[in-house]
Symmetry: C2
Subunit: 151 residues, 2 copies
């Protein structure tokens, strides 16, 4: 376990990074390896925890969640544990990090509208003081979708 990654592993990682739906046969064609061998390697990457998850990204606006925001939280003394266990109860929280600095929690949240944001902030207030920055645009994840299984 925890063996080093060779070049073949890195090639598989790069391919799967931007299209989690490549088949083992697809990957094998691209890196000149049999489907069985690819499967063996992908399973090893999963078992060692190097591959964490296969996620689908959606257009949140089209799903009715038109508002995204970065919310920073300065936790009240002694509230960290309570907040950590409560995080899962907030479906709005897409990402949540404990960070260095006075605002010790940073999260990315997705909301339907401003009313929803207000409600969300109200539910956070028992844990700490919030600072909110609305997201105006996404400067990185703008790649067009790649069709699965297509060359």
């Amino acid at each position: 376990m925890e063996s080093a990654l060779d070049k073949t592993d890195l090639k598989i990682i790069e391919l799967l990074r931007n299209n989690a739906r490549y088949s083992f046969a697809d990957l094998g064609r691209k890196i000149s390896l049999s489907p069985s061998a690819v499967r063996e390697r992908v399973q090893r990457l999963e078992d060692e925890g190097i591959i964490r998850k296969y996620k689908t990204l959606f257009d949140r606006e089209k799903l009715g969640y038109g508002l995204e925001a970065i919310v920073m939280l300065k936790l009240f003394s002694g509230k960290l544990q309570a907040f950590m266990t409560a995080v899962d109860q907030f479906p709005e929280i897409m990402e949540c990090y404990r960070v260095t600095g006075p605002q010790n929690i940073h999260m990315k949240v997705v909301l339907k509208d401003q009313r929803h944001l207000q409600n969300f902030i109200d539910r956070l207030i028992i844990y700490g003081d919030t600072t909110t920055h609305l997201i105006l645009s996404d400067l990185v994840e703008n790649e067009h979708i790649e069709k699965p299984l297509s060359g």
Copy 2:
């Protein structure tokens, strides 16, 4: 185009969200629909841009990128355009948002070590003033991996 999502679409979305590698047959079994019908719906969701991308998430520490940080940038006047076109040149930037507030850019970056962080900050300084918060832990995306194609 742009037709409303029904309950079946939402079920497919929920399933794909946390396992992008489900086959059409898998999805069909879970929601009692034929593989062809599932395929039809997934393709529609892709064509309408509701499904944006299938991504694989990796354990960055195990890939040799042990340092993650939130970096906020207060752009110098007139530097927005230059920064927007330069963003793609920074492989360290995993996410990057233009936000409201005095720090008008928020990004999540991934780095090998502190030396790398210093180098990264140095390369940003021509665009604006940076504020850096090291990520200590991830409070949300800690789900265990789901094996592809397994019930």
